[in-house]
Symmetry: C2
Subunit: 374 residues, 2 copies
């Protein structure tokens, strides 16, 4: 028997790696000696480099880059696929935990992320995967762009590196100085959210408050990103402000498109491509996946459905273990390739209580699923 274990994390309780470990143990208990392949799913946020390396092997390369306050720090990127592919996670040098009590999206920068991408490009990788998420910034990726040679000018023609508070001052962008090592580089940006650059559902309004912005700051940040969008359109001829995902990670999604010629892609698709999932499942008997909550959001291509759609093409069984299932909303999941869905709640308890037993609850549920399979 061959089992593929490829769950998303249960946000706030169990990491994807932990979940793989728990399922693996139960599979070995009920089907000793069977083959299990564990693929912790990277979501683009903190831990994504580790997840990719755990899934397919590889190494971490340490680089000194700028932190959110333009101070030097040690960060890293991952090299997988025999060095052909590099993985950069934004959180490792622009993440919210790094700023501690200095949260201020007016001042923070993604400069280090650009440095990491540049270092990865110079390593000889042919493809770079960039994970967004967990950022402390709202600079539209201008910092990262500056690090690879993009130049920003204010109305007086003075060059500067825009941060959240100064994107409003951008009058002109010059893309011509981009580092040559990025020419024709394939850059894929993992992005699971749909938010546009600005406006009520844009980067500032939805995400800046958790980065330390008060109401007034949210409004000025939003105006800044709107200005950036306008200058990008003038510079490139393309208005990308409404492209879904451009508002991700302080509008870093927009920056990845405009300054890095990247495309945004659902994270799970990037993972499945990278681990060569279609090949991997050819001789698999069961695929175990999971998500914190399966609901109408999930149907839009998050982890479980992303996996199910590929598994369906090979008529493989996909069993999802979930923290919760809103069954009214997920009827379509079965048609999309999910065989069965099992919530892990052993007792009728509120999440505030049950969250502390997530590990046992998952183990228990998987145990019983395997008993029935057996």
């Amino acid at each position: 028997m061959k089992f593929i274990l490829i769950p998303d994390s249960f946000k706030g309780t169990l990491s994807s790696t932990q979940i793989c470990g728990i399922i693996h143990e139960k599979v070995q208990k009920h089907f000793p000696g069977s083959e299990t392949v564990s693929v912790p799913v990277a979501d683009g946020g903190e831990g994504s480099v580790d997840a990719f390396i755990a899934a397919v092997g590889g190494e971490k390369v340490t680089v000194t880059v700028k932190n959110p306050y333009f101070e030097d720090m040690e960060a890293y990127y991952g090299l997988i696929d025999a060095g052909e592919t590099a993985v950069v996670e934004m959180a490792c040098c622009a993440g919210l935990p790094l700023v501690e009590d200095r949260k201020d999206p007016n001042l923070t920068t993604t400069y280090g992320v650009g440095q990491l991408i540049l270092a990865a490009a110079k390593s000889g990788a042919k493809k770079i995967i960039v994970g967004l998420g967990g950022s402390s910034t709202n600079d539209g990726g201008c910092g990262a762009a500056a690090a690879i040679g993009v130049k920003f000018y204010d109305k007086d023609g003075k060059e500067f590196v825009p941060t959240g508070g100064t994107t409003i001052d951008i009058a002109k962008i010059d893309l011509s100085g981009r580092d040559a090592s990025l020419k024709d580089m394939e850059i894929v940006t993992m992005c699971d959210i749909d938010n546009p650059m600005y406006g009520p559902t844009g980067a500032a309004h939805v995400f800046a408050p958790q980065k330390g912005a008060d109401e007034t700051t949210v409004l000025t940040l939003d105006e800044g990103i709107k200005n950036l969008s306008r200058v990008i359109a003038e510079t490139t001829g393309k208005d990308i402000s409404e492209v879904p995902g451009t508002g991700a990670a302080g509008a870093m999604g927009a920056g990845m498109i405009a300054f890095f010629d990247s495309r945004l892609q659902m994270g799970i698709q990037t993972v499945l491509d990278t681990v060569k999932f279609d090949e991997m499942i050819k001789d698999a008997d069961y695929i175990f996946t999971g998500e914190g909550k399966l609901d109408s959001q999930s149907l839009r291509g998050k982890v479980v459905i992303g996996i199910a759609e590929r598994a369906k093409k090979q008529s493989k069984n996909v069993i999802a273990v979930v923290g919760g299932a809103n069954d009214k909303e997920i009827d379509a999941a079965y048609e999309m390739g999910v065989t069965a869905v099992f919530p892990i709640n052993r007792l009728p308890e509120d999440f505030s209580v049950s969250r502390y037993h997530s590990e046992e609850s998952l183990a228990y549920t998987v145990d019983n699923i395997l008993r029935i399979i057996k």
Copy 2:
């Protein structure tokens, strides 16, 4: 495919009959045309006669008997098994709902239960099943005994029919006048609790408060049952006061043994014998059962385990759907014959919230179990 559906009720949310209906519907959805046999499990309480009739066919016979206040009422017993077996449920003429705002275990009687048993015996039945539970009484079954000819005397030699408040006055019991129709009758009393006749875990202390007894009344009721126990021992030569279950239904358990020569038996065993379960499952593929909560209590032979132990002898799959599972306590369940246990909680919600979705939650869970079987 053949499916046996034999769940206990989920107390307070779903009846056994409802659960059978929900599972039946899902089985027909995923395995159209398959055979399903539904056995709503009688627990001895209200609805037990209907449950037996639903499971094996039969008829209800109406009889005029005394209610808890010695007033005439219409009650019934069931005749199943071509009239060979009668089923009496105590609740139908001595139940707590019958006394409404007149709750007083000092005054209430089981007299009508004795009349029902007598009527059942005279119908020609060879065996009588008596379900305890849901009673308004604490008379030790003395009322029922009086109805079949047992005589109780006080210290002055005066005959009377003891109720909860007057069992303390019993000085002598004469069993010689018992109705001849009960001679050699097989009477099985369904009883799932272990309480002794009196003392801290006895009938009065544990159950009388919900029947309307205040603290003082509990103490006098307890003394009364202790006195009854003493006189029974004098009369029969046997002290049954510590026999598990004698404290059931206001010490009706004791009365069934002492006055009716009955044996107490776990309800599920009575149901399984009556429906000829061992025969029924011979060609079954799956047995679905369930309980409100599976915990260490359940392991002592309640519905799920009672079924599993018999199914194990024929190596049949037993799938339990439950309102909750305390997995730390139920490891032994698998060895006892349970294949797998699935709690029905789709979301991490407290019972106060989830109880209102029990029907959908059960349907959802069974649906997914069947998807995995398929």
